[in-house]
């Protein structure tokens, strides 16, 4: 825990008043949701020779079985150390998600045939569109935040209008407006630059607010000490304020990066061959939509995990000196 108290409260799940009713509620929900009608429920009923019996019997057996598994699982996991609890729960949930996907009766032969193209064309496009957009968005956000904190009316006006417009319009609309609207002004723009521009502008607007809040969170005394020493405004910002503000800025910015990674799929509407576009079109040819969608989803997930790990690293770096 972030800042645990020094009291050994009885653990939530070890309290009979929570554990018992919790299992009872799970049992009730499973019963109500007709757990026996699921494929797993049918298989279990068949095994016990209840396949031709009443649905109620199958429901009861299935609900009981699942509740028992959960009860034993919780009892076992509770005995592990904190670190191992996290690993165990993570692994179990991941297996459940994968089992859920597996239950769709996927054609792995098809996935194997298509994944190469999905990676070399789709993933690569997604990665470079996202990476370039993230870089431009960060620069826009920095400029926007400084403008919002300045006493320059023109800069303030532009920054306010920018964040209002680009946070206010749907991203899909922005992509269309840039791709289809700019040619109206006589400037024809390709699909990829249009997508990158829309993503940068939209996420730059969100991140402007994050950067502004981060800068504002630094106490006034830091500005004063820096000014009293004679540092110029530029040095005060880049050497004193921003390095401290990064601690506040990094976690929500990591969020934005992950969100942008997935929102980059929206540029498929203007025909950019990124991951989601290929997943859709490749799936269509052989009516294997689900295979491609699940493959693409898992690729996005893995990318997000990588970003999460990078974010954790950066956070550790900026937290180094600051236990206060």
């Amino acid at each position: 825990m972030h800042y645990a108290d020094n009291v050994d409260y009885p653990r939530l799940l070890s309290r009979p008043s929570i554990y018992g009713p919790g299992l009872a509620i799970l049992f009730g929900v499973l019963l109500y949701a007709q757990a026996g009608a699921t494929s797993l429920g049918q298989a279990l009923a068949g095994l016990l020779g209840l396949a031709d019996g009443s649905p109620l019997a199958a429901n009861l057996v299935m609900a009981l079985a699942v509740t028992a598994v959960v009860a034993i699982n919780v009892a076992v996991v509770m005995r592990l150390s904190l670190k191992h609890q996290v690993y165990a729960v993570w692994a179990e949930l991941a297996v459940l998600v994968l089992l859920f996907f597996y239950s769709f009766d996927l054609s792995f032969e098809f996935i194997q045939r298509k994944i190469g193209f999905l990676l070399t064309q789709g993933l690569v496009t997604t990665l470079y569109v996202s990476a370039i957009s993230i870089m431009i968005a960060s620069i826009l956000a920095m400029i926007g935040a400084v403008a919002k904190l300045s006493s320059n009316g023109i800069a303030l006006g532009i920054a306010n209008f920018y964040t209002s417009l680009f946070r206010g319009l749907p991203l899909l609309m922005q992509i269309y407006m840039i791709y289809l609207g700019l040619p109206q002004l006589g400037y024809v723009i390709n699909a990829v630059p249009a997508g990158i521009l829309a993503l940068s502008l939209c996420y730059g607007a969100y991140m402007t607010e994050i950067f502004r809040a981060g800068i504002e969170s630094i106490p006034k005394g830091q500005w004063e000490a820096s000014r009293a020493l004679g540092l110029k405004p530029k040095d005060t910002l880049t050497r004193i304020i921003l390095p401290q503000a990064m601690r506040i800025i990094v976690p929500p910015t990591g969020n934005q990066f992950i969100a942008m990674l997935k929102d980059s799929s929206l540029v498929s509407v203007v025909g950019v061959w990124e991951l989601m576009y290929l997943a859709r079109t490749q799936g269509q040819t052989e009516f294997r939509h689900v295979e491609m969608m699940i493959t693409a989803s898992l690729i996005y997930w893995i990318l997000s995990i990588v970003l999460e790990l990078i974010q954790a690293r950066i956070e550790r770096r900026f937290n180094k000196a600051q236990t206060r």
């Binding site: 106490p219 000014r227 004679g230 110029k232 000196a321 236990t323």
Partner: protein
């Protein structure tokens, strides 16, 4: 020192012959909206003078010394630091801040930098001193405040008293002519007040011009050449410490001293 003669009420002390005063404040007024924080303040600080400014909270004493290095603005009057007229022009403010060092109540050390980096950053960026020379100079002053061994720690690893001494060393590293102290011991635990006051006393002994806002009357008695008492934005009374503490003339000063000295 120069300012040992008796001084009459509210009148600026006579200027030493042949020397520009360290700070001249003339008819200074400041408003926060409709509230007047400083009312027509006149104050001259001579070179090498140790000035203690006291008064109840909200009396404008912090505001006054913060105007000297332009951390606070003012609407009327003039401030002249070492012959430089303080305006809002970048050159004027830069020139004044080069002459003036400041120590804050909350230390305001830079938490993302080590103690040594706290002391060298401005030297390198503002004065263009090389890294090596800046390190040497910073270590010299860290030695003077008796914490050279903490140079590579971060501020959060030091006690309050140590942090404030680092803040003093950081200001001294810039080799200012005038040092401003804004309640330097008010945020400290009682047992750490002395180590900071000792450092300031030592600095005073070396002839630094100092303006100190403080409630430490023992320090004022021992070190100050002159005590200025402020209330409601104006200088009510000033004089030598012996005069001010033994025989305050103004009722407001008497009331303040009876509260603070018990």
């Amino acid at each position: 020192m120069i300012q040992k003669q008796k001084l009459s009420l509210v009148e600026a002390p006579p200027e030493p012959v042949g020397a520009v005063p360290a700070v001249q404040i003339k008819s200074l007024s400041k408003w926060y909206g409709g509230f007047q924080a400083l009312k027509d303040v006149d104050l001259t600080i001579a070179r090498g003078e140790k000035l203690v400014i006291c008064g109840p909270s909200g009396s404008g004493k912090s505001t006054l010394i913060r105007t000297i290095n332009a951390l606070e603005s003012f609407q009327e009057g003039r401030i002249i630091v070492d012959g430089i007229e303080l305006t809002r022009k970048p050159e004027a403010v830069e020139a004044v801040r080069k002459k003036v060092g400041m120590v804050f109540q909350q230390f305001n050390l830079f938490p993302h930098l080590t103690v040594l980096e706290n002391c060298t950053l401005a030297l390198r960026l503002v004065r263009g001193v090389s890294q090596k020379e800046a390190d040497e100079r910073a270590l010299h002053y860290l030695g003077k405040v008796r914490i050279p061994e903490q140079a590579h720690k971060y501020a959060s690893q030091l006690s309050g008293g140590q942090q404030q001494r680092v803040a003093i060393a950081r200001a001294l590293s810039m080799q200012p002519d005038i040092m401003l102290f804004d309640e330097p011991t008010s945020a400290l635990d009682p047992e750490m007040v002395k180590e900071v006051l000792d450092t300031m006393t030592q600095l005073a002994g070396e002839g630094m011009t100092m303006a100190v806002v403080t409630h430490e009357m023992g320090f004022a008695r021992q070190v100050a050449d002159r005590v200025v008492f402020m209330d409601r934005g104006e200088i009510v009374e000033q004089g030598s410490p012996s005069e001010f503490f033994s025989n305050p003339k103004e009722p407001r000063a008497r009331a303040f001293l009876s509260q603070i000295l018990h």
